[in-house]
């Protein structure tokens, strides 16, 4: 397989080549899809914690990427970060459609998350509770904050890659992340007071 033999730079180059080909030859897009499918699915799953939602988001991500392939700028961050950004936006749309985590699917996702790990001590119980509250509050944030936090912490992208994926510099991303974290903390606090 090419991907296993290629160095990181060569891998990105291969992505760009595949995108170039995919603009004329749809089968090259299928190669890109195979290369990124599992990664995008894992990214979506970490936000939604349900397989069906992660599937929907993954499919929608590739559908949108395919339709807007002509907008991909090869001189930018690379295909991977570009795809992650689309996925992050799809997640925002997903939560908007689903009525956030108050929907049955959202509740199921939080339950899945709670069931996902064995909780055998007090500290772990508190941590799980915090995670659930944080995820509940996450989807109430402004889309740009959700995008920044998802790309930086849930996608596995480095700070540089996340910044280029968002189309901003690293310092701007740092400021955005700081504001997003502040907004998230306040949302968690509001949810705690409301509860």
């Amino acid at each position: 397989m090419r991907a296993q033999l290629a160095e990181p730079d060569e891998l990105e180059l291969a992505d760009v080549e595949l995108v170039d080909r995919a603009r004329q030859d749809t089968e090259s897009f299928e190669d890109l899809y195979v290369r990124y499918r599992d990664r995008i699915y894992a990214f979506a799953y970490r936000r939604t914690w349900t397989q069906e939602a992660a599937e929907d988001v993954t499919a929608a991500t590739f559908e949108r990427a395919y339709r807007h392939l002509d907008r991909f700028d090869a001189s930018g961050a690379g295909f991977g970060p570009w795809l992650y950004r689309i996925a992050a936006n799809e997640l925002v749309d997903h939560y908007r459609r689903e009525g956030r985590s108050r929907s049955p699917r959202g509740q199921r996702a939080l339950q899945t998350l709670a069931d996902d790990r064995s909780i055998d001590d007090l500290e772990a119980v508190e941590r799980e509770s915090d995670v659930r509250q944080m995820l509940d509050a996450f989807s109430t944030l402004r889309p740009r904050y959700q995008e920044a936090l998802s790309l930086r912490y849930l996608s596995g992208l480095s700070a540089d890659e996340a910044a280029t994926a968002m189309g901003c510099s690293k310092p701007v991303l740092a400021v955005t992340l700081h504001r997003a974290l502040t907004a998230l903390r306040r949302a968690v606090e509001r949810a705690g007071v409301a509860a």
Partner: protein
């Protein structure tokens, strides 16, 4: 409750590092189908396990020969033959498809149901795209709509808010409902919401009541 930024960052990083269950084979196939439908030459792909008419096989030889996505992944057959072979194969497939389509168009008059009820098995209607949609099958079972799903006669496709479905060139928007009738997706007539103003009604003319029994007139 109070949570510091550091605590939130720690939780996010922990969440990002948690293992994710691998895509199941079914889920993987569903996803592959959706993408194949997007990139394929003719909408919904044909699954290996679905019946197909001889006409379709002749018309689209590329689909027939092509392995399923998951099989291609498993066998590592990507890249075999290179792009030139792919282009050659596709050129042949496109030419064959065009020729077969021309024959079909010439043989079947526009709008005639002969193409569906004529010779050979019916290829059936299948979903070309689906999002947030449900299909109620004639046997009463409801399943989540996905691309490539066969729609038997009488099946009802319902889309939720923000949902979308398409089959046989008919698209269904959010909150829509359509019935498969005569091999086509027929959108149901929208029912006006209860809050919608009712159309003005004309006053009924007052008709004098007719006595149930007519008094017998005295005979002359």
């Amino acid at each position: 409750m109070t949570m510091t930024d550091a605590r939130l960052t720690g939780l996010l990083e922990e969440l990002g590092a948690r293992p994710v269950p691998a895509l199941s084979r079914d889920a993987s196939a569903r996803l592959d189908d959706r993408i194949a439908a997007l990139t394929g030459p003719r909408g919904a792909p044909l699954r290996e396990d679905e019946p197909r008419s001889p006409g379709v096989v002749v018309a689209f030889p590329r689909r027939r020969r092509r392995l399923h996505w998951s099989q291609r992944c498993a066998s590592g057959s990507f890249g075999d033959g290179g792009p030139s072979r792919r282009r050659r194969t596709r050129a042949i497939a496109t030419a064959a498809a065009a020729a077969a389509a021309a024959v079909i168009v010439a043989a079947v008059p526009a709008g005639s149901p002969a193409g569906r009820s004529g010779q050979g098995p019916d290829p059936g209607l299948s979903l070309a795209s689906a999002r947030n949609a449900t299909v109620l099958l004639p046997d009463g079972s409801a399943i989540t709509a996905h691309v490539g799903l066969s729609l038997p006669e009488g099946a009802i496709v319902t889309t939720g808010p923000g949902g979308h479905a398409a089959a046989g060139g008919v698209e269904l928007g959010p909150g829509g409902e359509a019935v498969v009738s005569d091999g086509e997706l027929a959108p149901a007539v929208p029912v006006p919401p209860l809050s919608a103003p009712l159309p003005p009604t004309l006053p009924l003319p007052i008709v004098p009541s007719i006595p149930a029994t007519v008094p017998a007139s005295p005979l002359p």
